[in-house]
Amino acid sequence: MAPLARFENVGLRYGTDAEVLRDIGFRLDPGSFMFLIGASGAGKTSLLKLLYLNRRPTRGRVTLFGEDIGRVERARLPAMRRRIGVVFQDFRLVDHLTSFDNVALPLRIAGVPEEEVRADVEEMLDWVGLTKRAHARPRTLSGGEQQRLAIARAVIGRPELLLADEPTGNVDPKMAERLLRLFQEMNRLGTTVVVATHAMHLLPHVPAAKVLRLERGEMKDPTGTIRHPPGAPAGTRA
């Protein structure tokens, strides 16, 4: 099976600074679920940026949907991005739009008919428990509500690849588990899911997930098979 994404000896640097990612190599199969773990500054967000096409690698090769993203024409990127859903660490909600319009944004960009947009968005807002806040602006929402809104926007287009950067950072444990169930459900329906997190307690909820650990920009678990790093309590994966 052709991988959905493949990293080969990938390096990334911002400007002339030192590399934030070094010699990254792994494959992401279609329909798989992967946790990306590591301390703050380990390079999780930078790796996600490569996956959601915010950056091109400065060396090595990243292949996504069969395209070498270091060489793919800029004009082709929007279509590729529409196959990806992203939950940004800082949410990146659009302040002047209501919750409803924020969630509707990917569908409207894709040109989905407005009747379908309305039905889908209402269903999604109901799922994340924000129906009553449909007309609220993001800045009037709590941190948890904003996070749920960001997740709703990321999954509304039923993306082939869902990337989530610390998606449970601002929600209570109960909501965190609920959101994780949403990701699992999407994964079950065929979406490839990558979750960057330092919430190790979430890992046992997805036993089949591959775990990729980053440390100072380098992979410490290239095969994804190290499930019990030293110091982790028995029975947990971290």
């Binding site: 096409l53 950056r55 929007p78 991005r81 992203v86 990146r92 659009v94 509707a104 944004l105 960009i109």
Partner: protein
């Protein structure tokens, strides 16, 4: 207000906040620029048209002036000159100016009723030469046979004025183009300010799959509406000024002012100014946005 169905998708769904472009000042800037460009162009075209009309009249015209204080001798010389002119087949439109014509020419300087019979006025004969050779031939004949007859070649006297008018006309046209260029520069700055103000939102739109054209069309639409509004205001003010100037020119019955006036093609050029202003705004906005967006991945 433009109906929603005619708006680009990005405007209809408020992808960027609805706001007045550059805080609402751009329509007034465009209005001022269009006003200046229209006035500059109209002045330029009017002057050029006047010069051309003048040139056409002067191309072949000349006047024979006979300075002779003795009335009897003057009459003889007029008859001699007229005979020479009439004998030449390439000379036409021969007209001896009457005493009344001569008085009318002098009165603006001396005052009405101040031109008496004791004032010796030269005799003047207007005529038209088919070409330069005919004029040279007549000049030679008059020099040889009629003492004190002098040919006054209109074009020779008025040529420097014509050149000056041409320079003024070209300067006015250049000024009109520079005004439109300045407007385009202001549009560039406005677009860049808008892109900077909404950089974060534009980045998010890109990351969730928006093509550059989504953003570009939104800016094009906003600047088209803004420029159209400003251009309409500027053009209407210019038309009002035209009416006033036209009324003032109607009272001027001589010189270049009488010849000045917009020919039909001048009106087309003037009508094109607001259209060009809107198109220029839209194209400038598009190019500026496209260039800025291409800098990002």
């Amino acid at each position: 207000m433009i109906p929603e169905r005619y708006q680009p998708r990005a405007e209809r769904f408020h992808f960027l906040p609805r706001e007045k472009v550059t805080g609402g000042t751009l329509p007034w800037i465009v209005a001022l620029m269009v006003l200046l460009a229209v006035l500059g162009l109209a002045a330029g075209v009017s002057l050029a048209s006047g010069v051309w009309s003048m040139g056409a009249g002067l191309e072949s015209g000349f006047t024979v002036q006979i300075v002779e204080p003795n009335p009897d001798l003057k009459a003889d010389k007029v008859a001699a000159v007229t005979a020479i002119l009439e004998d030449d087949t390439e000379i036409s439109g021969i007209r001896v100016l009457s005493d009344a014509d001569l008085t009318a020419l002098v009165e603006p300087w001396l005052g009405t009723g101040n031109v008496g019979e004791d004032l010796p006025l030269p005799a003047m004969i207007d005529a038209e030469a088919a070409n330069d050779r005919a004029l040279a031939r007549v000049r030679q004949q008059l020099d040889a046979s009629v003492e004190s007859a002098r040919i006054d070649d209109h074009a020779r006297w008025l040529a420097p004025i014509g050149k000056l008018a041409w320079v003024l006309a070209i300067s006015a046209l250049t000024a009109a183009l520079l005004v439109l260029a300045a407007m385009a520069a202001i549009v560039v700055l406005s677009v860049r300010a808008g892109l900077g103000r909404h950089a974060e939102t534009i980045n998010v739109l890109h990351l969730i799959g928006a093509e550059d054209s989504v953003i570009t069309h939104l800016f094009e639409y906003r600047f088209a509406v803004t420029a159209a509004l400003g251009a309409a205001v500027g053009f209407l003010i210019a038309m009002a000024l035209f009416l006033i100037i036209d009324g003032l020119l109607a009272g001027v019955s001589s010189g270049l002012a009488a010849l000045a006036g917009l020919p039909w093609w001048g009106w087309i050029l003037v009508l094109l100014v607001p259209v060009i202003a809107v198109l220029l705004s839209v194209i400038t906005a598009r190019i500026t946005v496209e260039r800025a967006l291409k800098k990002a991945l």
